[in-house]
Point group: C2
Chain length 262, copies 2
């Protein structure tokens, strides 16, 4: 089966039935994949305000009602508690469990935050002929902690985490223009050029992911990264939260092309 | 005194001292003016989610912490409870009082929502040479109830209210491009052309404001309007809320030019 050509509903069903248990990069091509944060309603206001105050690292695609499990509006026939292949469970900010189904944790006071993912803008960049080195080398994108302070909201705070893609100098303008149209999946770069200015001391040593080199004719381009809200979640030490496991995203019915901001 | 050339801090001080008690259109030129909604923390999550779900009619510029009174981050030396010339007070969705100072209503659980206002994009349109008929005729903009459903959130729901500006056919593209860059002040138009399609039966009879005619070479262009969240607030019938009085806006230190979305 060519998973890249499958529709999102098929992928979600395969995952639900434990028939597809791999990272979701490349599946259901053309459809937006998303990060997941589930937390109690008690903390939902602070988190929603945190996302509003920091829209680049925390771009919201959807916020569920408390207790909402079947996210029909963005994923037909879905169950957000079973349709991801890998979930992390946190108690007091500490990862306590990694499972492939969280249905038994469902509670009426839990709110799901569905957060945009860079897969969308990467596929748009590639469609427009821009080379993304880590994709060509089948590596993970390089990610770095920075000195870019986030706006606090209640228990949530921290610094922005960025992803870095080396982009050909001739393509940087195009990369800015394209990603600026996708504000719900991190939008335009937050920094272009000298890594030291945002507190990255050694660009060859990412805090997460893989460094794949920067060529003479390439410039390091930094986008806000979806790891940011998960870090803030851990640092908040709230009693209970669920997230997706890295690389195992929620495959939505939203078309990448529908995420262009008007 | 030429109020259009005054800085925002001066205008706010004059208002606080009851020395400037007129509508604020045209004052502190170049700075963003804003709509205000104050409501109890108990309803703040629903309202914040309502604004997130309906970003065009409810574009947030700032959300205060509960009890926050001096909005230093967007207005130096300000007091949001005294620095507007006219406030409306609502009990159970009913307007019960219209006053020039609400300092005595301050409570530690009240949250202020500062919402973008079309004055910002109108001044940008005028700066770029686009004629805005109601401004030239010193009338109020025409506003209409529509059949465009809002996304519900808790107690908040309703339809979008739009403002309409007749724009010269040759300038419509330019008006779209300019306003699309200002997503925090209603952004690009929601509808261009036939009013009937969005449920407006008689364009000559606005639900609010003044109809100033549409010339042969003009097209009606509709933007989401800041009256929308206030209508939703009234319809919600929540026990207590404060808003600004129409035309009496909060004058912030935010430059219009800083509201361009990147």
């Amino acid at each position: 089966m060519d998973y890249s050509k499958a529709v999102p509903e098929t992928i979600r069903k395969l995952i639900r039935n434990r028939e597809f248990m791999m990272p979701t990069s490349g599946v259901a091509s053309g459809y937006a994949q998303a990060n997941l944060v589930i937390l109690p309603k008690e903390y939902a206001y602070d988190f929603l305000l945190f996302a509003y105050r920091n829209p680049k690292p925390c771009p919201l695609l959807y916020v569920s009602d408390p207790g909402e499990k079947y996210l029909e509006k963005i994923a037909k026939g879905s169950n957000i508690y079973t349709d991801i292949g890998n979930y992390n469970i946190y108690n007091d900010g500490v990862l306590v469990s990694n499972v492939d189904n969280v249905d038994k944790y469902h509670r009426d006071d839990l709110v799901s935050f569905i957060i945009g993912c860079s897969f969308t803008f990467e596929s748009e960049l590639v469609n427009e002929g821009i080379k993304i080195p880590h994709m060509e080398k089948q590596a993970n994108v390089a990610m770095y902690d920075t000195n870019i302070k986030l706006e606090d909201s209640g228990v949530f705070s921290g610094n922005t985490v960025v992803s870095m893609r080396p982009i050909k100098s001739k393509d940087v303008t195009k990369a800015v223009m394209i990603t600026s149209r996708f504000s719900q999946v991190h939008g335009a770069p937050v920094h272009i050029g000298n890594p030291g200015e945002i507190g990255i001391e050694d660009i060859t040593k990412p805090d997460y992911g893989d460094f794949v080199g920067i060529e003479e004719d390439e410039v390091p381009v930094f986008w806000a990264c979806g790891v940011t809200p998960q870090n803030a979640l851990r640092q908040s030490k709230i009693p209970f939260a669920i997230t997706h496991g890295p690389g195992y995203m929620f495959v939505t019915d939203i078309k990448n092309s529908d995420l262009i901001t008007y």
